[in-house]
Amino acid sequence: MEKFISLAHGDGGELSHRLIRNIFIEAFGDSKAAMFDAAEIALAGGQIAVTTDSFVIKPIFFPGGSIGKLAVAGTVNDLAVSGSIPAYLTCGFIIEEGFAVSDLKIIVSDMAKEAKETGVSIIAGDTKVVERGSADGIYINTTGIGIFKQGISCSLEFKEGDAIIVSGTIGDHGVAVLTARGDLGIFSPIKSDCASLNRMLRRVLDLSEGIRIMRDPTRGGLATTLVEIAEDFNLTMKINERSIPVKEEVQGVCDLLGFEPLYLANEGKAVLIVAEKEKEKILQMLKEFPEGRDAAIIGSIIGKEKGQLLLETPLGSKRLLTRLSGTMFPRIC
């Protein structure tokens, strides 16, 4: 195998073939699916979930993961929070000419490992190579298909008093990636939380009827995700600043740069709105999983008149939270 990706790897000829055979099939298995233009999926009736997501991240390797792990976990999580069982993934690669094949191998093996652990099959793929300078290393798109279990889904029947649970500390991914870039000169032991949450979320969904909705607060952070739920379903929600789990190291980086953890990206966290009487049980179930160890109840639905998200400060006053507005820049004032 060549050491670097050339434009020829994307031209459909021998090099493309080698790339597919030696890298992708080698990692994802299932050589049968690669023989056809589309994969065949047998469906046993019922409904499926479909989602797609593109992954562009700098740096492509970061503490706690890589673009490959992210491309699988991100799409798996979108399927899982919608209440389906992630089953199949397709992936599309856009690779810059000159990209190191050794790096591609690592990325692809990260994808294979994550797919195996989460129980999804990668069944179709595509590769395009663009001229040097036309892309930044590698971009990955994954499309996921999930299958709904008969009769089990998020109810969307919100009630006053419903609890808001977050499955762990927020902002880890945002800080890990920011510091891994190195241009701010900040070193942090924080690793990205990048992880597939499907097994954990499956368990709570199977064992509790009190799940109203689940979301994964990725870009835009916890605040943006909750504002969206509040507006979409016309709910007044209140979260308590002191109950929101934030690692000290994450808070430290935020203090230095003037960032808010509430708006930092997460890649292995879910936020759940659940019936009040079920909240402790669900919290305990989440905590039994390593990815839910730091889960916490952070607030509740307090009304159904206005779609808004309030934050209760430690002093007891409330303030309105909005979506993230624009890129966050480090600030001095």
């Binding site: 002093l315 007891g316 303030r319 309105l320 004032c333």
Partner: protein, 370 residues
């Protein structure tokens, strides 16, 4: 030590402290028939008061006016237009604090220029710009030098670093502001309805407690130097009310753990070596004599104003009332654009774009919830 510092946000201290402030304010109301009125001079105070909820919890008992202490907000429109125009030149790298990126110029922002392909870089520390100049010897690197007394010495440090390394393709566009001249301006132009100032904790690190004597001696106005954590803010307001209640005028250092009587003398030496005062134009105010700092003439080679010729048109008048907001004459809510045409994603004035701008703080933290 960390445990001690953490106490300043401990709700078991902060909650009853807030009640104590309210009670003190009630005593003031009983005596004078009105709420006490204080100005927080510093934009970081505006932000911290709003973010922590102190402003909201005291809103019926203490009137806290936001002052002219956000460097982005007080920079006049023409200066902002000049800085954006600077980025238009060929072969230049503009380095700036993140705070400046979204500030609206008359035509566009620095962020717009960056999207259009200009090389504009955000730095946390100005000294990093020296490295950029070193790595790009065929380009002119220009740092946009905004800030008050805390930031100004770091701008001087950047020049010192460039001088030490013999780097000549770097310069600084100074448009800095000083606290004393603007406080004097406010007091000379009808600021006497205030009962005192909450004075900036970090600027005071540089200046020292004694530098505010003029407030008491010339204006008979109280000032309390205060930190930024919840308990510090509350105790600062408490002390201001206590002084007003007993009709005393005094200067109190409520942040003695980092602010000394004379300030940081090393930093003051840096001022003396590199800088000299100059007239500066303030948004909504106009020129205040000797209210800013520029490089001394012997450092002209690092002064972007001397190296580059920039001419911009007089900015058009808009309905934006940032000028009055920064003077504490109106609250952000009284501006007709607030939360309607002007909001953080589409800021019309700088007070909405800077995180510590009064309008942004009000928008983010003070809009009525119910």
């Amino acid at each position: 030590m960390l445990e001690i510092l953490k106490q300043s946000n401990n709700p078991e201290i902060c909650k009853p402290l807030a009640e104590a402030v309210k009670e003190k304010a009630k005593q003031f109301q009983n005596k004078f028939g009105r709420n006490p009125v204080f100005m927080e001079v510093c934009g970081s105070h505006t932000m911290a008061l709003a973010r922590s909820g102190v402003k909201q919890i005291l809103k019926n008992d203490v009137q806290l006016i936001s002052g002219p202490g956000c460097p982005v907000c007080v920079t006049d429109q023409k200066s902002i237009d000049e800085m954006i125009a600077l980025a238009e030149g060929e072969n230049r790298i503009i380095c700036t604090f993140g705070d400046m990126m979204r500030v609206p110029g008359s035509e566009k922002s620095l962020l717009d220029s960056r999207i259009a392909g200009k090389d504009i870089r955000v730095h946390y520390s100005p000294v990093e710009a020296v490295k950029v100049a070193e790595e790009n010897p065929d380009k002119e690197v220009i740092f946009l030098g905004i800030g008050f007394e805390t930031t100004i010495p770091i701008l001087a440090l950047m020049v010192g670093e460039a001088e030490k390394l013999g780097i000549s393709n770097i310069s600084i566009w100074m448009t800095t502001k000083l606290v004393e001249p603007v406080l004097r301006y406010l007091l000379d132009s009808g600021g006497d309805h205030m009962d005192g100032f909450l004075l900036p904790g970090h600027v005071s690190i540089v200046l020292g407690e004694d530098s505010y004597r003029y407030l008491v001696e010339e204006y008979h106005m109280s000032g309390v130097i205060t930190g930024f954590e919840t308990a510090e803010l509350l105790s600062g307001v408490y002390k201001l009310i206590e002084l007003a209640l007993t009709e005393q005028t005094a200067l109190v250092n409520n942040h003695p753990s980092v602010v000394s009587k004379t300030g940081n003398l090393v930093i003051q030496q840096w001022f003396n070596k590199y800088l000299t005062t100059c007239d500066e134009a303030w948004r909504g105010i106009g020129i205040i004599p000797d209210s800013g700092m520029d490089l001394k003439p012997e450092y002209d080679r690092y002064n972007a104003r001397k190296k580059f010729y920039i001419e911009v048109n007089e900015p058009r008048k808009s309905k934006c009332r940032c000028g009055e907001v920064i003077r504490g004459l109106i609250s952000p809510m009284e501006c007709p654009l607030f939360a309607k045409a002007c909001y953080p994603m589409n800021p019309i004035g700088p007070c909405m774009v800077s995180t510590e701008g009064s309008c942004a703080a009000y928008y983010q933290y003070m809009r009525e919830c119910f």
